[in-house]
Amino acid sequence: MEESEDVPKDFIKLKSEKLSVDEVSELVVSPSCGAVSLFIGTTRNNFKGRKVIRLEYEAYSSMAETEIKKICRYVRQKWPSVKHIAVHHRLGLNFKKRKNGRKKPMSGGLIYSKVWNSNICVVPITEASVIIAVSSPHRVESLEAVTYCINTLKASVPIWKKEIYEDEYSWKENKECFWANSEK
């Protein structure tokens, strides 16, 4: 690899397909870095005793990318030795319309929703909802940067998760969200 090709990069992806830890780690590996720190957010199969059947995600995609870019900018300011940052988040809703209205299992975890006449991303339990990887020459910076990334993502990136139970559903609310009603 040429020296000039190893410029610091941010890799931001919102996708409906299953996330890959290998893919995300490989994005940030660098010859100048002795450390790659990783965070994987997974999903639990129960909430307050109720069984979670599946999750549905929704995002304000353009703003979510912008907010994640802001996080990356701050990371580089605070930890200048950080080399590469990768943030991959699973998400769902897009507005493709199906003319025939038939339910069609799509690749990448998309199913057709009659309610919205569009595709939604369905994520099975225990699959990763987010993977964050940061590389740096020494481990302290990438470990701190990854922590900062996930904490700030939960506070500021416009992505929503809906838990579907057997008989009802619930829109989740991060406690980090500064405008949320805390009594939930």
Partner: protein, 95 residues
């Protein structure tokens, strides 16, 4: 081009985006609304609730994103341009 209504010089067409619970309550994901060009964020909320009264129940839980910047519901004065995106943002749950 259709003729404008009297008094519409001070109004602007904005794209309102609804997400998560707010989309369920409003029954749609996006629409164009004509709102006053200069308006506080709280007044903007009230304009939107006039169109979708069911949204009133989440008033204490939402913020706006105007041109993709968060704005609390309150006295902040917004100056809106035609085509500006105004999103209703319920409590987030990314990550």
């Amino acid at each position: 081009h259709f003729p404008r209504c009297p008094g519409s010089r001070d109004r602007r067409d904005v794209s309102v985006l609804y997400f998560a619970r707010s989309a369920e309550l409003a029954g749609l994901r996006c629409e164009t609304l004509s709102v006053p060009r200069e308006i506080t964020s709280l007044q903007l909320w009230e304009e939107i609730v006039k169109v979708h009264p069911r949204l009133a129940v989440i008033r204490d839980q939402v913020v706006f994103a105007v041109r993709q910047e968060y704005v609390l519901l309150g006295d902040q004065v917004l100056v809106l341009q035609p085509g500006d995106e105004v999103a209703i943002i319920p409590p987030i749950s990314g990550g």
